[in-house]
């Protein structure tokens, strides 16, 4: 009988406890550590692996170097019946975003809509985390963020002055999944381009443009070019609109004052975001809404596929089942991330999360 070299998936609750313990070891309050750990692992459970526990190293570096405040005193600095502005006091970004989501939903219950902005926030994982609760509560959700580093020039320009500025929407349906869209305003994400480079494959035209203005398709040359916004000037405009709503409106960073949160671990980022909730019953009947959503989605799915395409899929489709499977089976973290988490365990003195590598 040989020793198995296969690694077992890690249960979500074991991973959550590990991440929370690590944060606690760095001076983060127990309640906050639990919240952030829960949301980070939820990102992995939801299939947003690039925005989940993978980010732990980055967050720790910022906590260690003073770029992020382990014990923030979050405050609502201005408020109406329908709006609020939260100052995140430079704490871990998930804390302010979760608070914004809860507050927006409470306001929507009261007056039909809640719009909550954040300043002095930080990277908070995928926006999906902060719009899914609205759909689960029978509301419509929207959220957006100023990206945590400027990787994108204004359309037709060459200075990196914009992030990938994501926006997300959610709505309940009668299907297995709510409608759930979480998209960057660029055609491709850097992560996807790095994967193509590893595989030795080319990018399609339209993902990046070179410094010469010509299409760039070699992913290993990504440093010599620029990410393109979706729809050219349209995606650029959308990205600017997001920057104004999530950044400038809240007194948060936008443009040249955005701090690259990976390369600079010491400076406060003053990240800006917003979360919105709309109460469907302020406009009409909730049951009629979800019924119509599912009717339209069924029409979409019944549309004969274009050659080369599968059946039409709606944003968010299949996510509920995939998340349930990951919750039941555990999470398959890639070897690099497992190694990184073991290293973090050693550095922080927190017992590692992996039984088979202990």
């Amino acid at each position: 009988m040989s020793v198995s070299t296969e690694v077992s998936p890690i249960p979500a609750d074991v991973l959550t406890r590990f991440v929370a313990d690590v944060f606690r070891s760095q001076g983060v309050r127990t309640e906050d550590a639990d919240s952030v750990a829960h949301l980070m692992v939820e990102a992995d459970v939801g299939g947003y692996g690039t925005h989940g526990v993978f980010r732990l190293r980055q967050y720790l570096a910022r906590l260690r170097d003073g770029g992020c405040n382990p014990t923030p005193k979050r405050q609502v600095v201005s408020e109406t019946a329908a709006t609020a502005l939260i100052d995140g006091d430079n704490g871990l970004g998930h804390l302010a975003m979760r608070a914004a989501c809860n507050l927006a939903m409470a306001k929507a219950s009261d007056v039909g809509i809640g719009w909550v902005g954040i300043r002095r926030g930080n990277h908070a994982g995928p926006l999906a985390l902060y719009v899914r609760p609205q759909a689960d509560a029978g509301m419509i959700g929207m959220a957006a963020a100023v990206g945590s580093a400027n990787h994108v020039p204004p359309f037709g320009g060459t200075d990196l002055l914009l992030g990938t500025n994501p926006i997300a929407f959610s709505a309940p349906s009668n299907d297995a999944d709510p409608f759930l869209l979480d998209m960057a305003s660029t055609v491709a994400a850097m992560g996807k381009i790095k994967v193509l480079a590893q595989r030795g494959e080319l990018m399609p035209e339209g993902w990046m443009v070179g410094k010469d203005g010509a299409p760039l398709t070699d992913p290993t040359r990504r440093g010599d070019g620029f990410l393109l916004p979706i729809g050219g000037t349209k995606g650029f405009g959308l990205s600017v609109a997001i920057g104004l709503l999530a950044g400038v409106l809240n007194g948060a960073a936008f443009g040249a004052d955005v701090v690259d949160f990976t390369s600079d671990t010491e400076s406060e980022t003053n990240t800006g975001q917003f979360v919105m909730a709309l109460d469907i019953s302020a406009f009409g009947d909730k049951a009629a809404f979800t019924r119509t959503v599912s009717r339209v989605f069924d029409e979409f799915r019944a549309s004969p596929p274009l050659p080369g395409h599968d059946t039409v899929r709606l944003p968010g489709e299949g996510k509920t089942a995939a998340a349930a499977a990951r919750r039941a089976r555990g999470l398959d973290l890639n070897p690099g991330l497992r190694k990184e988490l073991d290293k973090i365990a050693q550095e922080t003195g927190v017992p590692g999360p992996f039984v088979d590598t202990a």
Copy 2:
């Protein structure tokens, strides 16, 4: 001395009076006729020629054939401090949208935000008309609409179940122009493709796809293919989100129940839209907001252009000066539209608007 064959531009107020008189001749109330005529001409003044007076023929056909109600009794059917739903009673679309814009701004003044949905509306010209007032009043604006005909399949499908579902944003700045973005969620508009066909030019790849799933670049073959959403699945998702927010939430049409308002002039369209206004002072200092917007926009403009590009332009840039010039000089309507308006004058018995063709 030869007789000049050149046509003079038509003063905006002359054109407005003509359009209002035409509507009145079709049973539209004077106040409503004046409002719609003003907004339609404002669209031309603002450079949105495809969504201005050019649409008069379409609107008249729908009024004549019962598809649009000349004497609507508009109602607010549900309301909170921050939200409202307007039933447009199937009147000319501009009326409900203007009312929604005014109501959203009033609510924003009261509680920081106003979100007003419309059902039983109609085509209302460019969304820009309903977000520019917010910027002029120092607010942020957003609006969206379910397109008035289904020209777009769901991503990867082949049935036409989506419109070009536009979305618009505005924000004040310290520049000559506010930020003003009014975009369809498809890469190209049908109008632009028709122009290329007239000129005998090809479309770039990415605008349309053929029924075989391959890129379609011959604009004369546009009937054999499909418009593509910006960013593929992203633009599709955005278009669906707009359909849910502007259509389903308001009890308006979305998906297969959208009526093609050009080919069918008899059926009520139940067009859905929404208009949002955000009061900047509910979040912070208005002067600081406009100062920061202009600082960031200056950074964008200072970015050295990519080869083949001009200086970076912001959405809405130059519109104020161009509109002032059109207001001073008059509007250059194309010969086809001038002929159409003369024909409408004859049909309705309203004196034609063009001195030189009278």
